[in-house]
Symmetry: C2
Subunit: 128 residues, 2 copies
């Protein structure tokens, strides 16, 4: 758990009332990219395999082409990879998060100064 | 319900593991500012009075001074206003949302082009 004040820009893309991309879906895409497996990515995120598939189905139907491709193999649940559009969408999403953080950095600095000091009398900066 | 694709930057401020400011709390502050009443603001947001008070308590203790001030009056539940710091925090939060939207506008334009076209064959722009 982060103890220092932190700003999370949780970007949510809605289309026709549905959340088609957001922090959870982006993390799932990243997990699949890293592990090559839907079940491993889901497990890392503490998400059920069924839940992961629901998110994938939402993304795959919301965009012009599927973001996640499954590879049927010898394994019980096969492997999975991101398609070209999936990679592009994930990197665009991460870029947007970074742009959001940079753009708000100055205001965030002012806002965090208004937070109460820790009970221990420490200051806002981590001096470890 | 918005039918056109929309990007929502949901900025979340975490401090010592707790969400001390986010979209729901900001909307509650705005409702109190507009209505001068916690119960009216809560009702507008479809939130229980108890829930609204929980959010207010979290904000009031997280920042250096209370954001919401209650005014005891003749009414059953009295009135409420934003303190100076409450007004400042709300306006800073809204500014950060706008900065986030501006900073991500170009990438968002590219991302929304990757969304599937509506079934009706319409395009991405609302022509009504």
């Amino acid at each position: 758990m982060e103890r220092e004040p932190v700003l999370h820009p949780r970007l949510r893309v809605l289309n026709r009332g549905a959340i088609v991309l957001g922090p959870g879906k982006a993390d799932l895409l990243e997990g699949i990219k890293e592990t090559g497996s839907i079940s491993e990515a889901a497990a890392e995120l503490g998400m059920s395999y069924m839940r992961a598939w629901t998110l994938i189905r939402t993304m795959n139907t919301a965009f012009r082409e599927p973001l996640v491709l499954t590879v049927r193999g010898g394994e019980a649940r096969g492997g999975a990879t991101l398609s070209e559009i999936g990679e592009r969408i994930l990197s665009t999403y991460r870029e947007m998060e970074n742009l959001s953080l940079s753009a708000t950095a100055e205001k965030w600095k002012a806002l965090r100064k208004l937070l109460r000091q820790p009970a221990g009398g420490g200051d806002l900066f981590d001096r470890r």
